[in-house]
Subunit: 234 residues, 2 copies
């Protein structure tokens, strides 16, 4: 259908502006973090905010999200999921803008941590999020809630942890998500019983004298488990 012909059917509809805002989670030794940016445009210039962009006419919404992530973190193939729609009529005083919030999970490493500084961005610990513009604090609260919920039935930790990780590291992630210290021994038992981890021969010795064995996620076994249906309850 030609562009001219398009939209003759729905002629009476009023178009609105649509944006995608990204809640970018990262995780490292210090815990769960969130990437925030100093806003570059008015209104609210120089205030802390999530990073976002308008959706282009020719762009799928998830493409907008990945475009944002690529531009500001340099990463492609990031775990990105729709969180929800923030469309209150008066949410942005500058214009009627509907934002489709998305949350992303990325593996943190030194490179990542430095890269972002060039965008006047900063990784904030999850307990030290500042006041943000518009409804961005609300979005973050919802994202955390969803992350918790998702972690119950999907091994979401694997998107955030490094490729090789130790069981205590994995536990630390779940402790952060659920804001609860799990029992070290029961946690280990439960996660190993799932039979989705492959034990490596290497150890990580950065956090203890004894060192902890590194593991890798066994995708094949995991997919099998998902099909059978399971429930991460920690």
């Amino acid at each position: 259908m030609s562009k001219e012909l398009k939209n003759t059917f729905y002629g009476n509809a009023q178009p609105l502006m649509i944006a995608v805002d990204c809640i970018i989670f990262g995780f490292d030794k210090e815990g769960l973090k969130l990437l925030l940016f100093k806003r570059k445009i008015d209104p609210f210039k120089d205030k802390w905010s999530l990073i976002g962009s308008f959706v282009d006419q020719e762009e799928n919404i998830s493409e907008t999200g990945h475009r944002i992530l690529k531009e500001y973190t340099g990463l492609t193939n990031v775990f990105l999921e729709e969180l929800g729609c923030y469309g209150k009529q008066d949410r942005d005083p500058a214009a009627r803008v509907i934002s489709i919030a998305h949350f992303a999970l990325i593996r943190l490493n030194e490179q990542q941590l430095k890269l972002v500084e060039s965008y006047e961005a900063h990784w904030f610990g999850i307990d030290e999020i500042p006041d943000l513009i518009l409804d961005h604090n609300k979005m973050i609260a919802a994202a955390l809630e969803k992350l918790r919920l998702k972690a119950r039935y999907q091994p979401i930790g694997f998107e955030l942890l490094p490729k090789k990780f130790t069981i205590p590291q994995l536990k630390k992630f779940y402790d952060a998500i659920y804001q609860k210290k799990h029992d070290r021994r029961n946690f280990r038992k439960k996660i190993l019983d799932m039979d989705i981890l492959k034990k490596l021969t290497e150890k990580d010795k950065t956090t203890s004298r004894k060192g902890a064995f590194l593991y890798q996620f066994d995708k094949r076994k995991y997919n099998k488990l998902v099909k059978k249906g399971f429930n991460f309850t920690f």
Copy 2:
């Protein structure tokens, strides 16, 4: 801020059309049902579809949903929740339209069942949904999935069941949602242990000689339970 001043900040953004589509669930003796409509406009005139409407400039998105429900079912105060955003660039051949799918749960009674016929609408059993326009079948699949998920940690059945209901009726609802026959005795035990139902003295005798006691949902007790945190696992 005046309308003229608005949007000078985001001048480069291209506005798009936003619609809300509603997946309307109902439940009666026959089981879980879905309300579908014969589309009134081109393209796809006279094909079965969900009911929807464009979002107005001055309207919150949830208001659009409630407006649709009011107009086509006559009901206000309906349980309505955002399902997700369907915004693929080519989802509608007639124009770039982003749809925010919502799902609604309504109590079915005779009046409801008749009312809808005036809109060339029809209640379809959940296992006999026809082919719908655009991505509407996808939306329904996602809505069912979400309904299942939600039913685990929210007593969602109470939105769909009549004010007074029997335990076998409630079980029937969960059987339908999870597509699994639960054990009658364990189901009863579990739901009663939650202590959120108020037993009435009346019985419903339409489904058995013995009759089943009617119950009502005790909102006060339920709210207490929600705060404490719980998990419907059937």
